[in-house]
Structures are given as C-alpha cells and as structure tokens.
Symmetry: C2
Subunit: 354 residues, 2 copies
C-alpha cells in the first residue's frame, strides 16, 4: 500500500543520540552550553498563559524581532520576508515540496548534509550531486543551468567540512542558475560572513537559519527562512498550519532577543575552536580551517573509522562520515574546554606520540 | 519557479486566532480548561536538563506510556505500534506523502476536516469526495474499491457534525477498501467508542490521535498515530528526523500520564455539552447529538452567517462553515460554563424569543 519509492528508500539516520548521558558528545554539532536564561522565563510565561489555545500560525512575535535583528544585513526586511519552521529541516522539507516533483532534479554538493538526498528521494526527484574537490572547492558545474534541476541546495558553511563559499561567489551562482538556490546557513553564526544581503537582490535566493547550534536550542526545534515576500507567501501554503508550538515560539523569540548571550557564546565557541584546531594539528590531524562549530579532520596515519570506534569505547562520541568513493573522515564538534580536554586525552591514547 | 499546483492552490486557512484575548473563543474546539499541572513541572524539568541537545527522534518515553494507556483497547500494542507527530496534522501530512502521488486519489467525506483537501492538493492528487446525507450518514460509496484511490480519510467523530460511525461499520469499510483507511480520532476522547481495536485486526487501519483537544494542549502540538509496526516503520522514513521537540515530548508524556485530570476534564466537557445542547434547542437551534467537544447547529429562522457576524460583534467567536451546495452552519465549541453563559446571553439578543 506504500508508494514504491518510500518502500525502496532507506530513511535518514540522525547522529547517535544516546539517552544515557554518559558520553562526551561531540557528534551532532550541539552547542556545549545551556541556552540563554531568558528562554526558561519565556517558556514559563507561555505555560502560565495557557497551552489550551492554538499557537500563532505564523509566529508573529518571532518574525517581528528577527526582522529587527537582520535589518543591518538586509535593509528591506520586514516580518513578511521571514517564515518560521519546526527546525530548519521543516523549512527544507517545505522547499523541496514547493519546487521539486517526480522526475525533476535537486542539485547539491557532496559531501554535505546527508538529509538532502532523503528529501529529494521523498519527492521522487533525482539527485544532481556535484562533488567538492579535495580542497573543498565546488567547480563551475554547480552553477550550470539545467532545466531539469528545479532546486539547488548549498550548505554554507558546509558540513562536514566547515568551509564556506564567499557571498560574492554565491551571488554569482544564484545569478547563473534559473532555479531557486537555498543557502542553508545552519552554521553561519560561527562564520565571518553570510548571504542574507543576497536575498534582497535575487528572489531566487532563500536563506535558512537554525536556532539549534548558535543559540543552544537543538531540543526546541526552531528555524526560519528569509526570502522575498512573494516567495514566503507561496511557502506558507505548504507548511503545516501550526508548525511551531507556543513554547518554541516563546523560547526562540527570547533567545533571539538576548544578543549579549549570543555574542558571549559565539566568542567562547570560536576560542575553543581555535584551541581544538591547534591541538589536533599537534596530534597529527589535518583539515581545512572551519567557519562552523565543528572540524573535519583526518589523521596522518590512523584510519578514521578505527579512531571513531576507539574514541567511542573510551566514552567520546564523534561523527564518523563515510562518503563512499569520495572518502571518509571525522567530524568533531567544538565542545566546551573540559570536553575538549577529555577528547584530547583519549586521542593521545589512540594515536602514536610524534 | 514554484510548482504549478502550488501556485494554483489556495492554502489552508485555520480558524481565527485573535491575539487580543478579548473574545469568548468558541471557534477552534480548544479545551476551555488549562492542561494538567504536571505539564508545567515536566517542561520545567526538561529545560533544566538543557535544550542544547537534540530531542529523542522517536519520543520513546511517550510511546512507552501510550502503549500502556492503550493496552486495554489493543492488547498487542507495544511502542513500535506508535508514531508521534508535531500535532496530528503532521501525521496526516506524512500519511498523504506515504500513500498518494500525482494523479492518484484521496477519498474523504464532506463536510469534514477542510485540511484534507489541502493535503491532497499538495500531493497533486485528486479529491474523491463522498457527501454525508442530511442525517450525517455516509453511503456505501465510501467503501467501494477504486484502484485510483490510494488513501481514505475518515474523521471519527467527524467535524463539524460531531457525529460518529460505529466501530463495526468502520471495520466493514476498512475490510472492503483495498487502500489504507486513516481513522482521524482527534475528538474521540469525548465519544463513547473508538477504533483502536481495529488496528490489531487490519494492517490497513491507521488511527490518529491529538493531544490538542482532550488534553488541553493545542499550543503544544503533539499527536500520535497507532498502526501495525510494519506500517509505522515505513512512516518513520517520511517524518522529519526530529519532528517533536524536547518540551512537547516532556509535556505530552506528563499529560498522558495524568489520568485523573483527563477523566475530570472529560466529565466537565461532557456535562457542559449536554447543557449547551439543551439551551441551544430552547433557542430554536437544531442539529445531531455530538460525540465531540462542539455542536453543529442551525437556527430555525436566522441564517448562520448573520448569527456568526452578530456574535462576533458582541465578542463571541464561533465557527461559520460554508460547504457550498452542501449547505452551511455554525460549529460551536463546548466552552466552560461561564463562556456558555455569555454565548447564550448574546444569542438571546440575536434570535427572536420563542
């Protein structure tokens, strides 16, 4: 009774989420620090107001604040340039449903976010995969027009690499492509630049953001898209009527409003990232500098799969990614300094001293 | 750049959700009472544990408890018979994506939940609508096999009528249909019977439940589906990886566990429903007895649209539904007794005394 492509596909497997809390967990790019204390206060107020009513279908309070926060980067922005989602995955789902049907194509880079292939498969679309080269550059092929390709997805910064395409280059890709270009900025708050300004210049550019990483709210499920209002208007038709709940709207709005927490947290993660980068290099790991809250690394001698297993046995979870003929490696989340200390200690047991 | 069927469709318009809290709000079947106090405590604990981690992708704690709660009705049930969703709308979305593609059909009754037509349109499916007769009976046509129809949706109790098809009759429909039959039991906790036992006998029966109405948690967005494990296993492929957030999982689990709150709330709503039914009859309204937390009524003389507008001017929101050639009417949520007092007072100003 199921549609054949559903039966044939394998579902997306998220990173391990052990319930026992025993692991030093550096595998799913969560923020190591608790979210802004304003979140708890706002959620408490929302419960006191009562959960028996449906939430605001458009999360107006969040959209109003997000428009203010982003005005410096995108002067035209008003709340109707913003659409909230139950995590940015919800927005990526809406976007594939808006643009791609059976037999049409979705273009995205490899290696990148593994979910993209699942979202395309759910739409019975074909995958138009463009490989990164060894230095994490995307060739010109990514910008080549193809009438069958109806949507291009560009994670920027990319996962697992943490590398980034400069906004001017993204603008050129968007101008060359006849289809919409979704710039997935889940990690952009840890980077030096972002692509929000492009949204004002090209209606085919849609930027998605996540509160999971840089606001420490992976458990809350909240993200948003920024696009021109005529694009948002069509996307609204595809979303679940009440896709964000009253507590996540209240919590995400409070978190977005706490700019001091945000700045302090970002500074802490960037400082730890620099330290982790340096220490891993000392242990013989190599990889590109990261613009995100994780590092993609390979060891000069030890195979990545063995290091993943060895670390897991020693109580540290990192993400082992195997991209077939492209190769494999370890994606290591920038944890707190004590977590990094544990990781480095365990790694010293696993890799020969140099 | 949007797919043509998205551009052509009009989106689902949820019932009015005025933000100003001034209205006596009897238009969207919300529970008039605050949820179990255990919800606030559980949500508080979840925040204290930290929101920086991703939630459990399958909401295991909820599934384990729901299996216990429903074991009396469905002895075979275990957690793998249950799938949680971001509201039961999320589950209905997954189900249409699982079973229906472009050019295939979705069967459902009219009048019923207006969202069904939107979900079918999003899949480029055709609508196979079976009209209720004036006494809210569905003819044999609903059970007739048709190879083009890939999914049948039966809201039971139905909205806006509040009427119900007996489980034995639903079983016969499911046995006759070659496609899956989703029994949408969003309102079933206010009814005398339910269709959970059928899930054990027929793998094509999928029951959906909502915490929005009978647990007073419309703001939290939590629902679940009950189906045989091989069905749930495929549905998981279609859901967003983290479709329920940590706070809604904690809150919904706590609410489901408070059976005393549930029983007391149900008794209060049913008592108010009986009173509202009687008082509306005295004012000249007619309609079927309801198995849900609302009544579908028409006045003997006054047009429904005028009564809706008159009530709104007087600060009371009810739902005016116009089903074209099928007819129109008012769907009135069973509020608290003070809310019902206000409604009745305003109605007395609008309808001639008898």
């Amino acid at each position: 009774m199921f549609r054949p492509h559903i039966l044939q596909m394998s579902g997306y497997v998220p990173g391990e989420q052990p319930r026992d809390q025993q692991f030093v967990k550096l595998n799913t790019n969560e923020n190591p620090y608790p979210c802004s204390p304003r979140v708890k206060a706002a959620v408490g107020r929302a419960i006191t107001e009562g959960l028996q009513r449906y939430p605001d279908p458009l999360a107006t309070s969040f959209r109003e604040l997000a428009a203010e926060v982003h005005r410096a980067e995108l002067p035209q922005i008003t709340p109707d340039w913003i659409l909230c989602g139950n995590g940015s995955d919800d927005l990526l789902t809406m976007l594939t449903r808006c643009f791609v049907g059976p037999g049409q194509g979705v273009r995205f880079p490899r290696p990148s976010y593994v979910l993209y292939a699942t979202l395309a498969a759910l739409q019975e679309a074909f995958l138009d995969v463009v490989d990164f080269d060894a230095a994490w550059r995307l060739g010109e092929r990514f910008a080549e027009p193809d009438p069958r390709v109806r949507l291009a997805l560009l994670p920027n910064p990319n996962s697992p690499s943490g590398t980034m395409m400069a906004p001017a280059e993204v603008a050129a890709v968007a101008d060359a492509l006849p289809c919409p270009l979704v710039v997935d900025e889940a990690y952009v708050d840890f980077a030096d630049a972002n692509c929000l300004p492009l949204v004002g210049r090209n209606e085919r550019v849609i930027v998605t953001r996540s509160m999971s990483k840089s606001y420490g709210l992976a458990g809350l499920r909240f993200g948003y898209a920024v696009a021109q209002p005529q694009v948002i208007e069509q996307m609204i038709k595809v979303k679940d009527s009440y896709n964000c709940d009253a507590l996540s709207i209240a919590g995400a709005t409070a978190a977005l409003g706490d700019r001091e927490w945000f700045a302090a947290n970002r500074a802490a993660v960037l400082a730890s990232r620099a330290r982790l980068d340096e220490e891993l290099a000392r242990l013989g790991f190599a990889g590109c500098p990261s613009q995100a809250n994780f590092l993609w690394r390979r060891h000069a001698e030890q195979p990545s799969a063995a290091l993943y297993s060895g670390l897991k046995e020693l109580g540290v979870l990192v993400r082992y990614m195997n991209y077939g003929d492209w190769g494999d490696g370890l994606r290591i989340t920038v944890g707190s300094d004590p977590q990094i200390d544990v990781l480095l200690d365990r790694l010293r047991r696993l890799v020969p001293s140099r």
